[in-house]
Symmetry: C2
Subunit: 289 residues, 2 copies
């Protein structure tokens, strides 16, 4: 089964469990709404691609790791969109969760997705229980405090922000977790795989900054010009559009070079090349490639 | 070491990790503020008492399970107090987290505490890795959707509420998890221990309803008369104060009788008797005992 289909199937399985008998109807509906339809599923694709490249013996563990990472990403989108943060009314081209279901259900949807991610890891490692501890440690570390995406979001509440701490936590951490968890799910030492995730995370951040400046709202599926409106650092504003595109190309090159020796290294490079082309809409991607 | 001291030590260890290098200062401060000083720590005490009664071989796993349960309880208090839910300005006798640190940090504090709970389980089961899957399943099931405390809170957003589903999820689930996780951490079949948690959870709910009606704000450390103000079901309103006290005594009796055979059953009964006396302030407890 293709990687994309495996991700959707595992996410559907997880959400179906959360919607099970006894679930409050609004929460159940909001959970599905927050996860489907998805975006590019970049992080879980990266996780599964690494697991495959490492020769994953237990695809179930890899699928669970990929789904857990995407559930946590969805949770962070739901909470980041709340009125107390970005107050965004649009996400993935439709009303954000709090606009559709109200703020209370949106808070609980994020909470439930976080819990569901750790349940998914547990359910997916029945055949390889020794993976569970390493996967939970890798993924929890990328989400919580001190250095995960929750901490990254909390930097926005500080008067003085360390830009590198902020971006590494807000965006980089979950990319690092995606590559490390892919390796761990394949029973391979996760540590050397972190560089690939870190470089791709930084590249994704630069591409996101470019999209914020270059795209319109319909293309982006979420509000534009948010960085300027919120005084957030933006690579395109700092380096200029051409400078940011050059930086993006450099980071993708460094990511490719960082890939540790593994059975499927060549195919992984090809996959990452295709995936990173999707970081920007087609008309911009060519110039950055 | 006494159970209370073990709980505080393990919670401190967990929060210290979350406050570690790179943590945003406000989030780090809010995490500690949300966990310390605690309330009666009823759930983790119950968890550790059961683990001890079952003859826990690895106290580290039991401590981690107890701390994880309390971290999740603290997370739920922080989120439940938010303006979009109870809008409570007082908790455990001091300003609630969002009043002290603002709504954005309060949302993130809850999120980070949920993640920290699962990290704590992982860190605490290094010596008994086979416990990790069962503890995570038990505890995640008591927190997420469809039947955990997040689902319980989401029932408050529904027009038609199933009272038993609501109370079982909102209060009962984490008590059931406390007894089941205590048994699982001791390597004992968790299932028969669920009844004790369910009965104590129901008893705690009745006591909470009585406190809401009988106590003043200073004694309670949180706003009073919240059930009437929010049209929530309240056992004291439904059964009368004396009826609710009688129901409380019955539930505690049933809890005692449900305790499965185990090496420390007698001592566990004595501990539960002492703990349930604290469900109500002393001047009411005597009448219910």
């Amino acid at each position: 089964m293709a990687i994309g289909a495996r991700i959707e199937r595992r996410l559907d399985q997880a959400v179906t469990e959360a919607e099970g008998p006894g679930a409050p109807p609004l929460l159940a509906a909001a959970l599905r709404y927050a996860v489907f339809p998805g975006g590019h599923r970049i992080r879980p694709r990266l996780c599964l691609s690494v697991a495959e490249a490492c020769g994953a013996a237990d695809p179930e563990a890899a699928d669970a790791a990929a789904a857990a990472i995407e559930l946590l990403h969805c949770a962070s989108l739901v909470h980041d969109d709340l009125p107390c943060f970005d107050d965004a009314n649009l996400r993935r081209g439709k009303a954000s969760v709090h606009c559709e279901y109200g703020v209370p259900i949106a808070v609980l949807t994020g909470d439930a997705l976080i819990v569901l991610a750790f349940e998914t890891l547990t359910n997916g490692t029945v055949r390889s229980p020794s993976c569970l501890a390493s996967l939970t440690a890798i993924i929890a570390g990328a989400v919580g405090s001190p250095r995960g995406i929750v901490a990254g979001q909390a930097w926005e509440c500080e008067a003085a922000v360390s830009l590198s701490d902020y971006q590494r936590a807000k965006t980089g951490a979950l990319f690092v977790a995606a590559t490390a968890a892919g390796a761990a799910a394949a029973g391979v030492n996760a540590k050397p795989w972190g560089v690939l995730g870190a470089k791709l995370g930084e590249a994704y951040q630069v591409a996101d900054d470019l999209r914020d400046v270059l795209c319109d709202e319909a293309e982006l599926g979420k509000p534009i010009d948010q960085d300027a409106a919120r005084f957030r650092p933006n690579a395109a504003a700092r380096l200029g559009v051409d400078g940011a595109k050059a930086r993006l190309a450099t980071l993708i090159g460094e990511a490719m070079e960082s890939i540790p020796a593994c059975p499927g290294a060549e195919e992984l490079r090809a996959i990452i090349k295709r995936q990173t082309l999707q970081f920007l809409p087609e008309r911009f991607a060519r110039a950055a490639a």
